[in-house]
Amino acid sequence: MSTALLRFARARAALAALLLLALFLLAAAAAAWLWPIDPDAPVAAALLPPLADPAHPLGTDRLGRDLLARLLAGARTSLLVATGATTAAVLVGVAIGLFAGAAGGLVDESLMRLVEAFQIVPGFLLALALVSVFGARLETVVLAIAAASWPAPARLVRAEVAKLRRAEFVQAARVAGLRWPEVALREILPNALPPVVPMAALTVAAAILIEGALAFLGLSDPNRPSWGAMIAEGRAVLVSAPWLSLLPGMALAATVLAVNLVGEGLAEALAPRRAAA
C-alpha cells in the first residue's frame, strides 16, 4: 500500500520535473521570440531592481543589461553545453565500452587502463585545465566536459557487454554464424543501452554544474551569457544587488534538480521489473 503510494508520488515528481525541464528548454529555445531583448546590449539604467520597471521585470545588471534576457540566454548556454557534452561523452563512452567489451583481450585491457587513467584524475580539474589552455569557447567547454565525463558510460557499457557476451542469445547468434562486429552491434548493443539512459541524465546534471563552476571561475564563452558567469559578476554586488547572483543560482539549482528527478524517473521506468512487484 505504502510502496504503491510512494511510486505514484515519485512518478508525479518525475512528471512535474519533466514539465519544468520542458519549460526551461522551450524558454531557452524560444528566448529570442518570447523576450526579444538583446541580452548583451545595455538597454536601461544599471542595477535596476526586479519588479521596478515592467519593461525589465527582473531588473538589470551592472552594465544595464536585461536580466531576464540574460537568464534565458544563460539557460540556452547551460542546456546546450550540458546536452552537447553528454551526447559526446555517451557516444564516445558507448563506442569504447562496446569495442573493449566485444574485442576482449589486450584491446579490452588497454582501453580499460585508459578509462581508469581518466577516472583517477579529478574530472573538474581536467575540464578546467582543458578550457584554460585551449580558450574559453563553447566548443572547448563542451569537449572539456565530455572529456571528463566519458569514462563512466564506457565502464558501464563494457560491464554490460561482458555480461551479455555470455548470454544465451549471443552464443546462439555466434553459433548461427554471425561475425563478432555484427553480433556486437545487433545483439549486444541494444541490450547494453538501457542502463546508459539514466546515467546520461546524471551526466547532464553534472555537466550543468561543471559548466556553472567553470563559468564562475571565468572560463565560459564570453560571447554567451552563462549562469555561472552571472553569479560571479553578481557576487561583486552581492549585498547591494543580491538578485544578480541569487536568480541565476536558483535557475541553476532548479535545472539540476529537474534533470535529477527526470533521471530518477527514467531509472525507475527502465529498471528490470521485479518478480515481486
Partner: protein
C-alpha cells in the same frame, strides 16, 4: 665636467604638503598593518624584477635611490641624496645617503649601487635592460659617490624618472659570485628599507617587521606589515568588511563593491596614490589585417567608442578618457593638442563606407576576432562593450578570451588577433614602457611592444631622436610630436586612463602620501587608535 645640475632633489615641496597633514595629528607608534595581496611573485627581488606585484611587498624592505613625490620636482631622495647629469649625456653623478645599513648590519655604499646597476638592473631587470642598455661602467670614487658612465648619450631626465621603479638596491655581498636569478635572497629579502622581511608562508601570507635601525628614525611607525594572500576578489571584500584586513590596494575589490564599501562606517576608498603608475585601456590593432591597415577604419573604431560610457559604467567614474598615449598627470610631457576622435557612430559609419567597407545584406561590414587581455576585470568588460559598440557600426566582433600565457602568445608572438584590449602602464617617462608600443622593427615575442605590424618612419625617427635628446625642453617637444603622430595614425586606440583605488579602514593614516604610494616604502604609514 659635471657642469649642469639637472635635478637636484629638493625636499621643500613634499615637506610642505605633508606638513598640512601632520598638523592635524601626531603619528602613533605601533600596530601591525594587515593588507591583502593577490599574487605571490616567483622572484620578489625588485632589483631584478620591476613590477607592481613585486614592489607591493618588496618596496618596504628594499629601497630605490629615489621615490616619486607630489609637486615639484616630483622626486624625493631615498638612498640617493642628489643626482646630476653631464652636458654630453654620458655620465650621471649620484650622491648617496651616508650611514645607511642593510638589514644584515653591513653598510650601504657606492659599491652596492655599482654592482646592482651593472649586474642586476642592466643585465637582468625587465625594464632596466632597456633604460640602462648603454650603461658601460660605474665609478665609485668614495663610498658615498657613484658615477654612471654611458657609451651613448642618455638623457639624465630619463634616468631620474626611472629612479623610483628601476633602481632598488640589494647588498652586493649577498649576490656577487652567485647566479643572481637563483639567489635565495630573491625570496628572503635583505635591503635598507623601514621593514625587515620575516617570512613567507606560500598561499597564506608575507610577514614584515619594523626595522629599528632605519635611517629615517623615528620612522617607521608600524610594528610590522602582514600581507594576507587572498587570490579571490570577493574574499578580499568580505575580509575587509569583516575587519580581518585593514587595507586592499590596486583595486583588489571589484569596483562595483567599492561604492558600497565606501559608504560603510570605518571604511574609506582612496583614489590618490597611483598617479605615478597610470594605466591605460587601449584597443590594440593588428595591421596585418587589410581592413585595419586603413587609417579610416581605425578612426572609425575610435569614433565608435563612447569613452564617457566606458568611464561611467565599466570604471564607475574612477577613470578619465584618454586623449593620447601619455596620461594627463605627467604635465612635463602631456599635450592635449592632438587629433581627437569623439563618440560619433554616424561619422564612424561614414568613414567605413568611405573605406569601401559597406554593410552587407545582413548588416555586417566585416567580422573580426577581439581578444581582451585576461588580467583585469575592466579589460574583459571593455571587450564586451567594444563588441557591442562595433556591432552598432556594422563590425561583427567575436570575443576570444585566453589565459595570460595564451593571450601573450597570441598577441605578442603569433599575432593571431585582429583587435585586442590591452592595458599598458605609463611609468613616469615615455621612454620606459610607452614608446615601445609605437616603434617598429621589434622581433616577435617581446611582450607589450609594437607587435601590431605597424611601421611609420616619421614615428621611428621621433622616438630615436628623443632617446638621445639630453635637453629636457627638447625631449618634451619631441614627445609632444610623438603624441600627435600617435593620434594621427592611430596604430592603437587609447580609450581611457585609469589608476587604481585603495580601500582601507579609516584608522590607517598617511595612505596615498606619494604618487606611487602602494609600491613605496610606507615608512610614514601609521595606525590610529
Amino acid at each position: 665636467m659635471l657642469t649642469r645640475r639637472l635635478f637636484l632633489a629638493s625636499t621643500a615641496a613634499p615637506l610642505l604638503w605633508r606638513a598640512r597633514q601632520l598638523h592635524a595629528e601626531t603619528p602613533r607608534r605601533g600596530g601591525v598593518l594587515v593588507v591583502a595581496a593577490d599574487t605571490e611573485p616567483r622572484n620578489l627581488n625588485p632589483a631584478l624584477v620591476a613590477s607592481n606585484g613585486v614592489f607591493y611587498v618588496a618596496s618596504k624592505v628594499i629601497e630605490p635611490l629615489a621615490e616619486m613625490a607630489y609637486g615639484e620636482p616630483g622626486l624625493e631622495p631615498r638612498l640617493a641624496l642628489a643626482w646630476e647629469g653631464s652636458a654630453d649625456g654620458r655620465s650621471l653623478l649620484l650622491r648617496l645617503r651616508p650611514g645607511v645599513r642593510f638589514h644584515d648590519g653591513t653598510s650601504f655604499t657606492s659599491a652596492d649601487v655599482a654592482y646592482c646597476a651593472l649586474e642586476l638592473w642592466k643585465k637582468h631587470q625587465n625594464l632596466g635592460r632597456v633604460v640602462f642598455k648603454d650603461l658601460e661602467a660605474v665609478e665609485t670614487p668614495d663610498p658615498a659617490t657613484a658615477i654612471l658612465r654611458f657609451s651613448a648619450p642618455t638623457p639624465a631626465q630619463l634616468i631620474a624618472n626611472a629612479l623610483p621603479a628601476l633602481t632598488a638596491v640589494v647588498p652586493r655581498r649577498l649576490f656577487e659570485g652567485t647566479d643572481p636569478l637563483a639567489n635565495p635572497h630573491n625570496q628572503k629579502l635583505v635591503g635598507t628599507g623601514p621593514f625587515r622581511f620575516v617570512e613567507h608562508r606560500p598561499g597564506q601570507y608575507y610577514r614584515l617587521e619594523r626595522n629599528p635601525d632605519y635611517w629615517d628614525a623615528p620612522k617607521p611607525w608600524l610594528d610590522g606589515i602582514v600581507y594576507r594572500v587572498l587570490p579571490d576578489r570577493g574574499a578580499i571584500a568580505a575580509a575587509l568588511e569583516s575587519g580581518e584586513i585593514h587595507l586592499a590596494a590596486f583595486s583588489a575589490v571589484p569596483l562595483a563593491d567599492m561604492q558600497r564599501l565606501a559608504k560603510l562606517p570605518g571604511i574609506a576608498v582612496i583614489e590618490k596614490g597611483y598617479e605615478g603608475i597610470t594605466y591605460q585601456l587601449v584597443v590594440e590593432i593588428n595591421h596585418r589585417r587589410k581592413e585595419l591597415a586603413d587609417v579610416r577604419v581605425r578612426r572609425a573604431i575610435a569614433h565608435a567608442i563612447d569613452r564617457d560610457f566606458v568611464v561611467r559604467t565599466i570604471f564607475l567614474g574612477w577613470a578619465q578618457p584618454a586623449s593620447g598615449p601619455i596620461p594627463r598627470f605627467d604635465g612635463r610631457f602631456y599635450t592635449a593638442d592632438v587629433p581627437a576622435y569623439p563618440y560619433d557612430p554616424r561619422r564612424a559609419e561614414a568613414l567605413l563606407d568611405e573605406a569601401g567597407l559597406r554593410r552587407g545584406a545582413d548588416g555586417v561590414r566585416f567580422a573580426l576576432d577581439l581578444l581582451p587581455a585576461p588580467w583585469f576585470e575592466q579589460t574583459r568588460q571593455m571587450g564586451e562593450y567594444l563588441r557591442q559598440a562595433l556591432k552598432a557600426i556594422g563590425i561583427e566582433a567575436r570575443l576570444v578570451v585566453k589565459d595570460p600565457a595564451g593571450h601573450q602568445k597570441a598577441v605578442y608572438t603569433d599575432h593571431a588577433f585582429d583587435l585586442a584590449i590591452g592595458s599598458p602602464v605609463y611609468r613616469n617617462d615615455p621612454a620606459i614602457s610607452t614608446t615601445i608600443l609605437y616603434e617598429s622593427g621589434l622581433p616577435p615575442g617581446v611582450p607589450f611592444s609594437n607587435q601590431y605590424g605597424w611601421a611609420e618612419p616619421a614615428m621611428d625617427e621621433v622616438i630615436r631622436t628623443a632617446a638621445r635628446a639630453i635637453d629636457p625642453a627638447e625631449r618634451a617637444a619631441l614627445y609632444r610630436r610623438f603624441q600627435t603622430l600617435a593620434m594621427e595614425h592611430l596604430p592603437i586606440v587609447p580609450v581611457v586612463e585609469f589608476t587604481f583605488l585603495t580601500v582601507a579602514r579609516t584608522n590607517v593614516r598617511e595612505v596615498a602620501s606619494n604618487p606611487r604610494w602602494a609600491v613605496s616604502n610606507w615608512a610614514d604609514c601609521w595606525l590610529a587608535a
